[in-house]
């Protein structure tokens, strides 16, 4: 296999990896908003359910979730192709982490901000949308970026279901070229490039739109 066709196969894999990442991240993001709102503003039963959901999904390995969805669900007549099963599992697991991020962000909006909003006559909805949410989203940017790179790295688990993402494509090339060191290092380099540039881009954007008092807290959880 010549260099160019190797490169092409790996790039195809990279595209699948990015597709997996973006789709599952968006799914997780939407679910996480619901879960975190339930945890912060919900009544007791909602809080309990949301907390149990979060706890369970944060305790079970992604690989197990993938196997339950892919190999387990068919016994209930529910069948997913590997790609869909991978996206759903990644989304479920990440939603638990993201809901924790949102909850933290909502709770770290200072109490005084809420009091001030109420003092000028805002109702609960107005306070949430005009004061709490905009500040919470800013607090969430750094940890969410980190979570995005975690999801990106975790897409490699989809290898186990046979999804032709980067690592699977790499392994396929290894099986024909017998050059594991070169190929796997190359895969690692691609992953690194994507995570590193994601971090760099977000930091740039964040810096550009930073408000005084809301500087990027570049920590990675």
């Amino acid at each position: 296999m010549d260099f160019l066709s190797t490169l092409k196969v790996l790039l195809d894999g990279t595209i699948v990896t990015v597709e997996l990442t973006v789709t599952s991240f968006i799914i997780a993001f939407s679910m996480a908003i619901v879960v975190s709102l339930a945890q912060v503003y919900g009544n007791t039963p909602l809080k309990v359910i949301a907390t149990i959901y979060e706890r369970i999904l944060r305790s079970i390995p992604l690989l197990v979730v993938m196997f339950i969805l892919f190999f387990g669900l068919p016994s209930f007549g529910i069948r997913f192709d590997p790609f869909t099963a991978a996206i759903l599992s990644l989304g479920l697991c990440s939603s638990a982490y993201q809901s924790q991020i949102f909850r933290g962000a909502i709770l770290s909006v200072p109490k005084g901000q809420i009091l001030a909003a109420q003092s000028i006559g805002m109702n609960g909805r107005q306070t949430f949308f005009h004061i709490t949410l905009p500040q919470a989203l800013r607090f969430a940017v750094a940890p969410l970026t980190n979570e995005f790179t975690i999801v990106l790295k975790d897409t490699s688990f989809a290898y186990a279901l046979g999804v032709t993402e980067l690592l699977r494509e790499g392994t396929y090339i290894v099986s024909t070229t017998y050059e594991p060191l070169l190929i796997y290092l190359f895969c690692a380099a691609i992953y690194f490039t994507v995570t590193f540039s994601t971090n760099t881009v977000v930091k740039r954007v964040e810096k550009k739109f930073a408000l005084p008092g809301f500087e990027f807290r570049g920590e990675r959880a």
Binding site: R58, V64, V65, F67, K153, A188, Y191
Partner: protein
Amino acid sequence: MINFINVFVNAFPFLMNGLVFTMELALSSIAIGFVIGIIVGISRSYGKRFSYTLSTIFVEVIRGTPLLVQLFIFYFAFPQIGISLSPITASIISFSINSGAYQAEYIRGAIQSVDTGQMKAALSIGMTKWQAIMRIVMPQALIKVIPSWTNEFVYLIKYTSVAYLVGVPELMAEGEFVASRNFEFMNVFLSVAIIYLAIVMIITWGFSRIEKMVRMPGV
């Protein structure tokens, strides 16, 4: 439900065998990772140009690439340069290195959060920089880092499941083994999930006890 209980009971001995490997992997990786984390964390915090750069590259590269790829490099690629590792050895090495990079960051964060005043005070009573690090800063930093260890250990237990992909007979692999014989995929993997859940809950609880015990008054 009765079927599930049956499957669970029959799978249980196998899963327990697997759990032993899982814990072995996680425990040795967190311990070796701790040593790596301390060394790298200190050189990230106090290192001169060379050791700082080296440790930074190490942390960034390890944290920027998937654990599974790291494992494949040690297990599938190292034989190419004449180093053949058993599945378990390759797993422990890659998990330790991976965990080391994350622990280094926890430790660095903790070192930074220990008041710089502590360093100044230690130097002012005539300690050397090295003494100040080891006797004043690190003891406080390590206490601060305990909550992160809970997380790190939970992560490790979950992530050791990938060792299944290189043939370590850990919990996940045992589940797969049982399921491929009785075809009870759902029930077996749910059993596996429950065992992970139980272990993680026990560990979280245990660590929170430890945390309470060693908490410094007023910190």
